[in-house]
Each structure stands twice: as structure tokens, then as C-alpha cells.
């Protein structure tokens, strides 16, 4: 989509998948779990912008948009139901803006997203630990924002359900994580009762193509610091191209390839319930999306309801 990649957790997952900015503490895309009865809550600010985008495969700028930016504040939390099963939920407030042209920016609360993350298997492999996670999640629009006002819509209004297989390997302080995701998206209803895709549709319902993606991340991971490089690719299963000088549409084909870096720093000693997260992403290639550059910064705090000294753990730290 033309609004920035990290519009939010759910849209990012659903559309452009890589959501390194959000759920940074214990995320739906990493190999970290919260301990039982531990709640990690926090907020992330994200800023993404682009001045070039792809109409189909045609890369262009648009003086009637200038630079399109998306900002969001995402509030989220992860709760350890057990050491092996975590629940993750979050929702963002999103603002969009175009620096040129006359189109009015949009803002509002976007979608609620939630995941169940299950650490299914931990195996000693070589000098490290290989873990397999299964995740199931979904998202739901929280407000009646306009989906059909791209590139300035704050989201797409689709309800989604996702399944993800995630494999994590850690040896010493080195780790690598790979995941693949399939996201089913529900039809949406737009404000007009006809629209043209590759043919005319006399209805207000829009068939949204599903999405698939994979995400690879690797780097340094210790109790106090995670520093990682991220590479991710997402694509719609179906969808159609924006024609030359046409407006984008929610059911467009939206593909993207992105790379970036992320970090998580956990404060020392008595402050160790608090962590700071941040990162940056760049869109290397895309189709019917903006070539977004984004950064994010957030803070997370762990609340322990188990009255034990506890916090996030990785399978590797457990096995050792």
C-alpha cells in the first residue's frame, strides 16, 4: 500500500509484514517469550515516509503528493500465559500526511491485533538451541476509518487471520530467526457502490487478496542487548496493479522487499524491567507500494505478577 509500511502492527503484518517497530520487546516475529504471569507493556513511535512509489512496476514520484508520511503510536503488551504460550496484543493511532497537493491527511485509531505465540519445540542442535514456534493471530478494525482513500488511508478495514511458522536458532550470543506467514483477509465494504479494478464492479464489497510473507533476522542477542539485521519480503496472493496515473485501491497487488536494523536495550540492574527499542527499515523494491524509509523508537516495561524475579527468556538461555 502506498501509505507507509509500518502503519501499524496489523496493517504492517497484513500488508507489508515486517513490523520491526512494533512488539519490539517480545514480538510476534522473534524467538523471545515472556515468563508466566509476566506482562510486558509499552509504546512505540514510528515515522515512515516516501516520495517515490510504484504504479505496477513503474517507479515514479508525484508532485501532487510530495512526500507522504505515516506516523503512529502503538500501544501494546505481551503476557506470559505460560512460559511456552504468550499472548500479544496491540493497537495504534495513525496519522498520515502529504506535503504537496491538496489531499487531506487522515488520522485515527486503526486495528486491534492479537497473537498467540506457542514455543512448541526446543532442541539442542550443535552448540546452540533450535526452537520452533507456531503463531496464530488476527486483526480487527477498531474504528470506521476510510480504507478507500489511499495513499492517505490509515488502514484497509480488512479483518485478518494469520498463521506463522517461526524457527529460531541461538548459539552463544549469535542468533538467527526465520518465519513464514500466511494472512487471510476478509472482504471489505467501501463507501462507494461501484469501482473498477480490471473490470467494473457494481457493488460496495471488495474482495481482498490474501497475503504471504517471510522474514529473516539475525545478529547479536544477550540479556541486555539485541542488535539484528532484518530482511523481509511480502506479497499479496492476487490483486491488481495500479494503472498509470490511476488512484491506488485497497485490493491492489502490494508487494515489498525491505531491509533494516533493530535493537533492544535492557537497562541494567534495578532498572532491568525497562527496555528501549528502536530501528530503521528501507524498502528495496516494491509493487504498488511507496518506497518507504522508516524509523521507530519505543520503551517497554515488564510487570511481574508471579512475584518471582523473572523476565523475558529465550529458549537458548533456558537450555543452557
Amino acid at each position: 500500500m502506498l501509505n507507509s509500511k509500518k502503519v501499524a502492527f496489523s496493517v504492517a503484518l497484513a500488508l507489508l509484514v515486517a513490523a520491526p517497530a512494533v512488539l519490539k520487546a517480545q514480538t510476534d516475529e522473534d524467538g523471545i517469550m515472556m515468563d508466566k504471569k509476566n506482562l510486558c507493556i509499552g509504546a512505540t513511535y514510528m515515522h515512515g515516509s516516501w516520495d517515490h512509489y510504484w504504479e505496477g512496476t513503474f517507479k515514479r514520484n508525484n508532485q501532487n503528493l510530495g512526500t507522504v508520511s505515516t506516523q503512529s503510536v502503538m500501544v501494546m503488551g505481551t503476557y506470559g500465559i505460560t512460559r511456552k504460550l504468550n499472548f500479544i496484543a496491540g493497537a495504534p493511532y495513525v496519522w498520515t500526511h502529504a506535503t504537496a497537493g491538496t489531499l487531506h491527511g487522515q488520522h485515527g485509531v486503526q486495528d486491534l491485533s492479537a497473537w498467540l505465540k506457542w514455543d512448541a519445540l526446543d532442541l539442542n542442535v550443535g552448540k546452540g538451541v533450535l526452537s520452533i514456534y507456531f503463531l496464530g493471530g488476527g486483526s480487527l478494525p477498531l474504528t470506521n476509518y476510510i480504507a478507500d482513500f489511499l495513499p492517505l488511508s490509515i488502514g484497509l478495514q480488512s479483518k485478518t487471520l494469520s498463521g506463522r511458522l517461526l524457527v529460531d536458532y541461538q548459539a552463544g550470543n549469535f542468533f538467527a530467526t526465520a518465519s513464514g506467514t500466511y494472512t487471510g483477509r476478509s472482504n471489505i465494504i467501501i463507501d462507494r457502490n461501484s469501482y473498477y479494478t480490471t473490470s467494473l464492479h457494481l457493488t460496495d464489497k471488495v474482495d481482498m487478496p490474501d497475503m504471504a510473507s517471510y522474514n529473516v533476522r539475525a545478529g547479536y542477542r544477550s540479556n541486555w542487548l539485541i542488535a539484528e539485521a532484518v530482511f523481509t519480503q511480502a506479497f499479496t496472493v492476487g490483486g491488481f496493479d495500479i494503472r498509470k496515473n490511476d488512484m491506488p485501491f485497497p485490493s491492489n497487488k502490494m508487494n515489498s522487499t525491505m531491509a533494516g536494523i533493530d535493537f533492544k536495550y535492557t537497562l541494567p540492574k534495578k532498572w532491568n524491567a525497562l527496555s528501549i527499542v528502536g530501528g530503521g527499515m528501507y524498502t528495496l523494491a516494491g509493487r504498488n507500494v511507496g518506497q518507504s524509509t522508516s524509523w521507530d523508537l519505543g520503551a517497554f516495561y515488564v510487570l511481574d505478577f508471579s512475584h518471582k524475579r523473572s523476565k523475558a527468556h529465550t529458549s537458548a538461555s533456558e537450555k543452557k
Binding site: Q63, L85, T203, N245
Partner: protein, 513 residues
């Protein structure tokens, strides 16, 4: 337990992936058209361009007991014994009504071609050329005035062709194949109408022929639709090959008359020249007015500035001049300042309901335009009326001639006053839809909608107040969107009613009421 949760999640995902996401059109499953009244006298209705219903000769058909006709019947029987599911689908699709389906085809083409050309590297813009339609920018750019005229020509030509068709049906009175031979199934319903020449084939012929003028890139695709319709007509038992051949030929001949008119109606000159564009600016400046400026970047030449000189079907050029309202407030007046600040206030306080109205009526780039929207509104109401094809065509022609003349009048007014948009006078006015690339006064949406509501209200009096409310909402949508002053819309609706009344006058004397 974990496993259960996971399986539950996985199960839901599979369900969403598997569930039927098919989205179907509102007019997808319509029953066959079953006219309550066949309008058997429609051959005497007043045509638009034809001087007489028999201007184009149609040969006397072969008798129903002749070997030629028997061969025709055998062809139908052959189709009916080996009907493919595709053919059954085509029969169901076309049996809902030829005027309806060709109107939908037209709306699709308008939406497909409603894209403004991308700029050249030097910031100028290429102009689509009918001489070279397959090269970018594709011809046409079916913007609202272009669309209004295209709908009008095709609807008017369909109407004239069906008046001639009904004339010959009454003259020759050859019954439908299923009436002559009871072993032929009537798969699209039965009517008491004579089948020579076939009204469906008349519509196919006239519509396909008009494409060489209106959407030349699509002649091939449209020819395919013509063949599908004609096959459906035969396979359904509604018409023989000779009914079809005569009908298509008649349709094409009538279309040629309309094409000849269109080539001389000034639409080809509506783009204007750089000298024309400059003159609008100097004329406004000479009157101490801020002239309209394109708010696109790079600045795009104004949309079809000489469309006001196109020859209308209902209004002549003197009528167009007489329709002009008084001027908008001076661009330097307090009244204009207060209208502008009102526009800013509206956009700053837009509610979600207002945004929905904006989106619903926007009909901008990539859509079938406001005239197309009113065709959709009309068609979906007409479906419920059980009219004959000729009455469908007559009412669509009245609607679309009104829309074309509304476009001519509106464009005449817009370029006569060359009045700036609110955002030009106050750039802090951001808009909830794309800002149209032509002057503000008066609102095109208000004129298209007001004019359509007037003639549709005459055609379906029980819906008159609903149409009026829709027109008012369409007009309001432009104010909510931040692209018009309130005055553009109130004056636009008034002028539109006067345009619509020209169509009402015609409707009262065309013999169909």
C-alpha cells in the same frame, strides 16, 4: 491445551482462506426482462435524428414456412441440444435486457478510460488522439464531459434504432421462433413481440458500431460481446439468424448517422489551443478577477475548455447562452472571502458521515463519472419497471441527452466565468477527494445530478423526491470535500433543473407517454 489453541487458530485461518469471498454485482442475477407492455406502437414514437422510422430499408423476411426459415430454426435447435454452461450464462446475462447490459458495458469502458494522461518529461501533457488510440495516452480520456457525450450518443442511437426496429416488427410481424415451432424452448422468457428484426441484435449492432467513435481501442472486445449477445439470442430461442442479421445491419446503419453528427458536433475541438487557454486568463484579468489556475503539478491545461461549444441534443447554442446564471461574487469581494472561509471551516470539521457522502459521490479518476453514476441509479430503478427494450432505450436516451446538455451548459458557465477553486484562494483548504482540473463555478456534480433528477423524476414520479434528495446530497458532497463553494452548488442545481426541463418537454411530445 496449547495444542488446542494452536489448532483452533490454524482452523480459523483455513476457514478464512476457504470461505467464499466471491463478490457479485448487484445486477448479476436478474431475471429475464418481461415487459408488462410491449409498446407495439413504438414505431411511431418520435426519433431523435432519424427523419422517419423507415429511413433505412429492411428487407421483407422469408416466410416462416420457407426452407430458409426452416434452416434458421434448425440452427437454433442445434444450439439448444448442445448448450454449454458458458452459453447458458450468456443467455441469463443478456436476457435481463440489452439496453441494461450495453449501458453497463459503457459504464465499464468509461471507468476504464477515465485516466488523465501522465506528464511528459518536460512537464507538458500529451493529448490522447483518436487517430492513434492504441499509443499512450490511450484515447479517449473519458472524463465527465466526454462520458456524458458518449452515453448520450450511444443511448440516443439505441433509441432511434429501436424505434425503427419496432416499426419493422409491426410491419412484418414475423413471430418469434418459439411461437412458430413449439419444440424450440424459450429460454429467455416469451413475449408477444414480433422477432424480425431482432431488437437485441439492433442493440448489439448500434452499440458496437458507435465504438469506432467512442472507444476505438475496444472495437475488438465489443465485437466479442456482440457475438455473445447474438449467440445468446439465437440459443435462447428468441431470434433466428435472419432476425439477427437484419437487426444488426439496421443498428449499424442508424449508428452511422449518429457518428456523422458526432464528427461535426465540435467535441473534437473541445481541448482548445494554448492561445485559447491564455485567453481565459486575460479575459478574467481584464474583468479584475483572479483567474482559475490548475492546482495540479505540473500544471495541467484545463479540461475540455471549449466543451461549452458542443452541439447539444436538447439545447441549441442560444439556449446554452440563455442558461448561464449571473456571475459569482468578485474574487476580491467580502462575499467571496466569506465563502472561502466557510469552505475551510467545513473541511476542518468534516464528519465521518460527510466523508462517506464525499466518497460515495466522488466519481473521480478511474470511475464511470457522475453521468455514469446517474445511469447506474436509473438502470437499477428501471429494472423494476418491466419496460420494453424500446422504452428502456427512450428513457436512457432522455437521461443521457440531459446529462450531455448539462455538461455543455456547465462547461460553458465554468469557462465563461473562469472562477478559482476554494483551495486556490486559500491553500490551507485540503480536500477529501481529488481536486478537479477545471474552474469552480458552477459545480459539475450539481448540474449532472440536478439535471438527472429532473428528467428521472418526470419518468418515475414516485421516485422524484428521492432523486431530488440524491441530487442535493451529491451537490453537498462537493462542499464537504472542500472543492466547491456552497454557491457553486446551489446555482448549479438551479441551472440543472432548467436543463432537465428541456428533456421533460421532449418527453411530453415524443409519443411514448
Amino acid at each position: 491445551m496449547n495444542r488446542h489453541i494452536f489448532l483452533l487458530a490454524l482452523g480459523s485461518i483455513l476457514m478464512i482462506a476457504a470461505c467464499n469471498k466471491n463478490v457479485s454485482d448487484r445486477t448479476a442475477g436478474l431475471p429475464p426482462l418481461a415487459p408488462a407492455n410491449e409498446d407495439l406502437n413504438a414505431g411511431s414514437w418520435r426519433p431523435i435524428l432519424l427523419s422517419r422510422p423507415d429511413t433505412f430499408a429492411v428487407a421483407t423476411p422469408a416466410a416462416t414456412n420457407s426452407p430458409l426459415y426452416v434452416a434458421d430454426l434448425n440452427e437454433i435447435k442445434g444450439y439448444q441440444t448442445h448448450l454449454t454452461s458458458d452459453q447458458q450464462g450468456q443467455i441469463a446475462y443478456w436476457s435481463a435486457g440489452g439496453v441494461l447490459r450495453w449501458n453497463e458495458v459503457m459504464r465499464e469502458l468509461v471507468a476504464k478510460y477515465n485516466l488523465a494522461p501522465y506528464q511528459n518529461t518536460d512537464g507538458s501533457y500529451p493529448t490522447p488522439s483518436s487517430a492513434n488510440p492504441f499509443a499512450y495516452p490511450f484515447f479517449p480520456f473519458s472524463n465527465p464531459p466526454y462520458a456524458a457525450r458518449a452515453f448520450a450518443y450511444i443511448s440516443a442511437a439505441q433509441y432511434d434504432a429501436l424505434v425503427a426496429c419496432w416499426y419493422y416488427k409491426a410491419k412484418f410481424n414475423r413471430p418469434a421462433p418459439y411461437t412458430v415451432d413449439p419444440t424450440i424452448k424459450a429460454m429467455a422468457g416469451k413475449t408477444g413481440l414480433a422477432s424480425y428484426p431482432s431488437e437485441g441484435a439492433v442493440l448489439a449492432g448500434v452499440s458496437a458500431e458507435m465504438m469506432q467513435l467512442l472507444f476505438p481501442d475496444e472495437i475488438g472486445n465489443v465485437q466479442q460481446k456482440l457475438q455473445q449477445q447474438e449467440m445468446a439470442l439465437m440459443a435462447s430461442g428468441a431470434a433466428t439468424r435472419s432476425d439477427i442479421t437484419a437487426g444488426e445491419a439496421l443498428g449499424r446503419q442508424v449508428a452511422e448517422m449518429f457518428i456523422a453528427r458526432a464528427r461535426g458536433d465540435n467535441a473534437g475541438k473541445a481541448v482548445g489551443t494554448p492561445a485559447d487557454w491564455a485567453k481565459f486568463v486575460t479575459t478574467a484579468q481584464a474583468a479584475n478577477q483572479v483567474p482559475w489556475l490548475s492546482l495540479e503539478a505540473p500544471a495541467r491545461p484545463p479540461m475540455l475548455p471549449l466543451f461549452g461549444k458542443v452541439k447539444g441534443f436538447l439545447c441549441d447554442s442560444a439556449a446554452i447562452v440563455s442558461l448561464r446564471p449571473g456571475p459569482p461574487p468578485s474574487t476580491s469581494s467580502d462575499e467571496m472571502k466569506s465563502q472561502t472561509s466557510a469552505a475551510l471551516k467545513t473541511i476542518q470539521n468534516a464528519t465521518r458521515e460527510q466523508m462517506k457522502i464525499v466518497q460515495f459521490w466522488a466519481d473521480g479518476i478511474g470511475t464511470y463519472t457522475p453521468p455514469g453514476h446517474w445511469n447506474a441509479i436509473a438502470a437499477e430503478d428501471f429494472v423494476k419497471q418491466n419496460w420494453s427494450e424500446v422504452r428502456w432505450a427512450r428513457n436512457m436516451a432522455l437521461l443521457n441527452m440531459t446529462e450531455m446538455d448539462a455538461a455543455i451548459s456547465c462547461w460553458d458557465i465554468k469557462y465563461f466565468y473562469f472562477n478559482p477553486r476554494p483551495t486556490q484562494l486559500d491553500p490551507s483548504i485540503k480536500t477529501l477527494t481529488g481536486i478537479p482540473n477545471f474552474p469552480s463555478y458552477v459545480s459539475g456534480h450539481s448540474m449532472f445530478s440536478g439535471a438527472a433528477a429532473t428528467i428521472l423524476g418526470h419518468i418515475l414520479p414516485s421516485r422524484a423526491s428521492a432523486y431530488e434528495a440524491m441530487a442535493q446530497e451529491a451537490a453537498n458532497s462537493r462542499i464537504y470535500a472542500g472543492i466547491h463553494y456552497t454557491l457553486d452548488c446551489t446555482v448549479g442545481l438551479q441551472v440543472a433543473q432548467n436543463v432537465g426541463n428541456y428533456a421533460v418537454k421532449r418527453a411530453q411530445i415524443d409519443g411514448a407517454e
